[in-house]
Symmetry: C2
């Protein structure tokens, strides 16, 4: 498995990915999944990959080779638009998959890519390239794209990432998102790579490789854990807690905060809300409902 994320904010792009590559739990290796291809000062591309490693390596090898070959008409050096770059990589991916499955159609050699970067004269952009070769870009409402094991790390991105967020804050948010994922899925693992591409810089300004024992990563993990714990502890108290902490004479007149349920101030059972359960032995079972 893999987890990679790309974020597009007003100030530029952030890329992050893990490095764990596995063919089963008994065959685990470390591979870079964040690749930079560039024509300095003119165009920069960052490719993140999730899926079959052979397909990914085919795409990268051909993209790099053709970029350096002046006789190739269409390459990452010649495309005019980011969309065309995504389309080009998509076609390479389709070709790699087709070639690999010629003798056996039942092997899954799919790969999903994220392409991000900037070509002079265009805005920075990020695209997700599907195994079919087609692609989608991020949008102002959805300023990030994820590939691989995306669920564990999505809530913090959903809550924090907006177009106006600072590049470095977006990078820290990506690191937290990766950290949450590594904690829950061991097929996503360290070290993690981060790259920052500021708008119009046409060069990666900062790239980091962070392991659990890298001092910055360790301090980030530690700070995040402490702050999250404090955040839960500082959430609004339930009203029975507020009342318990006041002297009897100071207890406020009850205000309903409990929705449809009745409030009880003495802490005793109030499960009557469930007596009217929606199930009943006589009701018609709805087989499809889950």
């Amino acid at each position: 498995m893999t987890y990679c994320v790309a974020i597009k904010v007003n100030d530029g792009l952030v890329f992050a990915g893990d490095t764990r590559t596995a063919a089963g739990v008994d065959d685990v290796r470390t591979y870079n999944k964040l690749h930079v291809l560039e024509v300095p000062g003119e165009r920069v591309f960052v490719i993140l990959s999730a899926g079959n490693l052979a397909t990914t390596q085919y795409v990268l090898a051909h993209a790099r080779r053709e970029m350096n070959d002046p006789n190739v008409a269409v390459s990452l050096r010649t495309v005019r638009h980011m969309f065309d770059a995504a389309d080009y990589l998509g076609q390479l991916s389709v070709r790699a998959q087709k070639q690999a499955t010629e003798s056996n159609m039942n092997v899954n050699v799919e790969t999903t890519l994220i392409l991000g970067g900037q070509i002079t004269g265009e805005d920075p952009a990020i695209y997700m390239i599907y195994p079919l070769g087609n692609c989608i870009s991020a949008s102002p409402e959805t300023p990030f794209l994820q590939i691989g094991e995306i669920k564990y790390g999505k809530p913090i991105l959903d809550r924090f990432v907006r177009s106006q967020v600072k590049l470095e804050d977006a990078a820290r948010c990506a690191l937290v998102s990766l950290d949450s994922t590594m904690r829950s899925n061991i097929s996503v693992g360290p070290p993690v790579d981060v790259a920052i591409l500021p708008r119009d810089a046409l060069a990666i300004s900062h790239s980091l490789r962070l392991d659990f024992d890298t001092p910055y990563y360790a301090s980030l993990k530690d700070a995040w854990g402490r702050q999250l714990e404090n955040a839960v502890r500082n959430l609004p108290k339930f009203d029975w807690e507020v009342q318990q902490s006041l002297p009897l004479s100071a207890q406020p007149v009850p205000v309903s905060t409990m929705g449809q349920q009745q409030r009880q101030q003495d802490g005793s059972s109030q499960q009557q809300g469930w007596q009217g359960d929606s199930w009943s032995p006589d009701s018609d079972p709805d087989n499809g409902f889950r």
Copy 2:
């Protein structure tokens, strides 16, 4: 889909679940997934359900009916141990599935249950009951169980829930976990139900049904969003940010925090870390790696 969670801490148990029930996106209903069955002062059971609604309703209908029938030898009224209660519900679930698939084995009528509660003389316990009828309990290292769409809401539970956490803090953490899930998966939806069962109370002390516009839930959501945003903004700065904010004369002697990568203080490209990419056109493709 569904998302339910049960948490076991030293002080007792917390249960929470959503209420959205769907057979496709065009047929959405609201069903209670948190059910309380009790013999007041002697034993309390809470059942959370995820999966086929007909199977769930079969289990609940039979469990309730047999609990109230003095002629039934084995029921939630008669079992001596929480494990036996879980085993009993597991057998009901298996029977329901068998009956439903007699004429058509290809329909999936599986359901996964969480059973929590306490029987006088025993510790409180929570069990996950699989569609096969077998079960596992929570442990001190893993003090919570989840069913349904579990990934989005897991990181906050992983980071916060420990046995020594206060019951109310655990309940707030469950609410945040549910909120993150509802944000990312529309098949998990409000209102949400929460029930708190303090150790040795042998009765639910508080039960809440909270919708997005319930004042407590609205304030919790709002507080969580703000605190999480602050938490990201307060994470340790990258060293180039620290240096930028100091006058030149006060800049510290660099300390390596960047792991294997070289640090650069001028903000210029440092992507040489990726020049030694692990891919190469000549390398042997490892088909199985992803």
